[in-house]
Amino acid sequence: MSDQTVTAPVPAASAASAKFRQFLGNRGATVGLVIVAVLVVTAAFAPWIAPYDPQMMGAGPRLTAPSFSHLFGTDEFGRDLFSRVVYGSRLTLMIAAIAVGIALAVGLTIGLIGGYAGGWIERIVMRLVDVVFSFTETLIALAAVAVLGPSLQNAMIAVGIATMPFYARICYATVLVEKNKPYFEASVAAGAGHFRIVLLHILPNILPTMVVVATLGVSTAILAAAGLSFLGLGAQPPSPEWGWMLSAGRDYFSRAPWMMIAPGVAIAATVLGFNLLGDGIREVLDPRQTARR
């Protein structure tokens, strides 16, 4: 009757591999993982994959339809669209990383402070977040770009600021849940200070949720940044940014639809990939789906 024998301990390694198997069992998640992996590989090896310099004019005749020598066709300056899309993946990933990074860093900090401190700090901080939340993302991004000036770098900052409230709210709500768990009171009773409780106890417990939120947020950020570039407020020519390419192709849509199709499909596939991946991670990490042991 020794309680040692009641439950067989589950080795952490097997639990992790079981979760990975569960992840792979979800077909959508696997597709998402493949798309994102292809994107990352493309970005990393762009110089080897792209047959032409993305900026080189006259790589082929102007406005040629897709063919073997120009897989996605060429644009109005005779640049190879396939090479431009391949190089554009670098920009897209950078936009995603930086915009989400900014949003996550700011949102996480605000959410942690608001949720942990409570009282008047919470009220002030979270009401400010609500104010930002009540404008649509594009509007805030537009305003930010209007202040900072149009450039890819500023577009990333603008998207980061615009999507931040979403991260802050979820972080705040998660912190409130963790604060009500007994281990929180237990660490206070043990004499732990604020920094220890926030950094060593609460943060590790909310991180899985925030990872899911960030993965799903990547697609929002990519779309928002592409939107800004499309409006001419983000990436400037001749950068091979997908949103800008989309915009440039608009004038030639009836003669050369591939100019819009190539970057458009690239954006759609990337967004889909990150969404599927995020959903897959959420399914694995969702505490409601993991039996309480």
Partner: protein, 564 residues
């Protein structure tokens, strides 16, 4: 009483992919006779609930699989019925009441709707559904059954809700009532009333009852026969009296021995509480705390004063809402009281700043009711145990590691357990980890909030033994919060009984338990189910809690005070 009603044979149930390798219930056979109460007893994980859910077809369909066996009710095998056939049996021939009266009623429907629904589900044309519901509510002794029909679940107390559940379960006069831990979530006085009611109704309706419980006291008071289960297998079966008097299986013997019985604790636990009381470790003076809940003020602490001497265990006893947990947290300043003093070494720690408070907390550590939640799930247990020592700068580096290992040994765990995460431990082991964590800073006082109530009895006994052993060796003081008087008798030197935020009786353990001076203490003691089937308790006198005297404490004996 010999007419067979339900016959379960070789029931085997498994979970998950490897269901057949490690079944949760293995070859379980039993017979339920007409108009008898059969108790299925076991600790968590014994398969007692799973086997009964299978009868109702309530097992989770994705994961659970019935691997074999039959359950014959009359001529039909319940295990082979389809959904529609099962539906006709559920609520009509077999009913069930659940452990959680708070959540097993639908919160957005009136009691009346939920009662009549049960009638109409089986007799869609019944015109007297309302009348029958009112009559049934009357039979479970709910006051003013007519107006009860229009009320919502949140307007009722836990005990009233469980009565409603019983009324719903019995309204179609089922042949079998399955009661899964029906009183575990209730306070002890309410539990006694509900058990009384269930006994009475069982006889009136001629219903057979399948009582699933871990509580030997409930078995002794309610059941005719019993089955003891362990790890999915039946280990013993028989009439209640012979099994209690002469358990055959070693597991039953251990289970019965582990049950804390009131009046069984030897005098050894009592420390000589001489007339010259030493300087207290901590003293609470006139603590007051009012919570406001939706505009209504609830006095959680009302002029609460007590003192704890070195090496002494003071038990705070009371039912839910009595303020005992608030008092425990107030001592550690996890909750700030509205007024009053908390004295440690003569200084009021309520005036301390963060630095001083941290030092004060070194003297006072806490262990919690829920050992599952009290350990940060994402921190390795050696780090968790070492954390308080780290915080208070007691040791670093290899010394910290050595001390952590020593703590693991002290609570009966080994160094091989150190590199794991909390979810890899059982409930009892987790509570040991919590104790190890509290001991690291060499506190003088440990506040223990219901430390054993989430644990099985056998493990509960181990944890209590550990706590007592540590007290002997280290001279610890405990503030022990509990609703379970039998456990309290085993650990405490002095007892304070709380009722609605006030201490109504305070004195040495034996004075309070053997010679209670306050009516409320007496009613608590009378309500405890006794794990002795030969002892018959008379009918309980139901008394409203607000009728007890709650005046200032007056001395009724040496070191023994009661509210006037």
């Amino acid at each position: 009483m010999t007419e067979t009603l339900l016959e379960v044979q070789d029931l085997t149930i498994g979970f998950g992919e490897n269901a057949a390798d490690n079944p949760a219930v293995r070859d379980l056979s039993y017979t339920l006779y007409r108009n008898e109460t059969l108790a299925i007893v076991g600790e968590s994980g014994s398969g007692k609930s799973v086997s009964s859910m299978a009868l109702m077809g309530l097992l989770p369909p994705q994961t659970a699989r019935i691997l074999g066996g039959t359950a014959k009710l009359g001529g039909t095998d319940l295990l082979t019925l389809d959904d529609e056939a099962l539906r006709l049996i559920r609520g009509r021939r077999i009913s069930m009441i659940f452990q959680e009266p708070m959540t097993s009623l639908n919160p957005v429907l009136t009691i009346g709707r939920q009662m009549t629904e049960m009638v109409l589900a089986h007799e869609p044309k019944a015109r007297d559904a309302v009348d029958r519901s009112v009559a049934m509510l009357d039979r479970v002794k709910l006051p003013d059954p007519k107006s009860m029909m229009t009320r919502y679940p949140h307007q009722l107390s836990g005990g009233m809700r469980q009565r409603v559940m019983i009324a719903i379960a019995l309204i179609n006069k089922p042949e079998i009532l399955i009661a899964d831990e029906p009183t575990t979530a209730l306070d002890v006085t309410v539990q006694a009333q509900v058990l009384d009611l269930m006994r009475e109704l069982k006889d009136q309706f001629g219903t057979s009852m399948l009582l699933i419980t871990h509580d030997m006291g409930v078995v002794a008071e309610t059941a005719d026969r019993m089955i003891v289960m362990r790890s999915g297998e039946k280990v013993e079966e028989g009439e209640v009296r012979p099994v209690f008097a002469d358990p055959r299986h070693a597991y039953t013997q251990r289970l019965l021995a582990a049950v804390p019985k009131l009046g069984n604790a030897g005098p050894a636990a009592t420390r000589e509480a001489g007339p010259k009381r030493p300087v207290p470790i901590v003293e609470a003076v006139s603590l007051n705390k009012t919570f406001s809940d939706k505009g209504r003020d609830v006095r959680a602490l009302d002029e609460v004063s007590f003192a704890i001497a070195p090496g002494e265990t003071l038990a705070l006893v009371g039912e839910s809402g009595s303020g005992k947990s608030t008092a425990a947290r107030a001592i550690l300043r996890l909750i700030e009281v509205d007024s009053g003093e908390i004295l440690q070494d003569g200084a009021n720690i309520r005036e301390y700043g963060p630095q001083m408070m941290r030092r004060a907390r070194r003297q006072m550590q806490m262990i919690f009711q829920d050992p599952y939640g009290a350990l940060d799930p994402r921190m390795r247990v050696d780090k968790l145990v070492a954390e308080p020592m780290h915080i208070h700068g007691i040791a670093r580096g290899s010394e910290l590691k050595d001390r952590t290992e020593a703590l693991f040994r002290q609570v009966g765990l080994g160094p091989e357990h150190m590199k794991r995460y909390p979810h890899e431990f059982s409930g009892g082991q987790r509570q040991r980890l919590c104790i190890a964590r509290a001991l690291g800073v060499e506190p003088k006082l440990i506040v223990a909030d219901e430390p054993t109530s989430a644990l099985d009895v056998s493990i509960q006994a181990q944890v209590i033994d550990l706590m007592k052993d540590l007290q002997e060796r280290l001279g610890l003081s405990y503030l022990f919060i509990s609703h379970d008087l039998a456990v309290v008798e085993e650990v405490s030197h002095r007892i304070a009984v709380m009722l609605q935020g006030r201490i109504v009786e305070l004195g040495a353990r034996d004075d309070v338990l053997r010679n209670p001076a306050h009516d409320y203490t007496r009613s608590l003691l009378e309500a405890i189910p006794i794990a002795d089937p030969t002892r018959q308790r008379g009918k309980l006198v139901v008394r409203d809690r607000s009728t007890f005297s709650r005046g200032p404490l007056v001395a009724v004996g040496q070191d023994h005070m009661a509210a006037s």
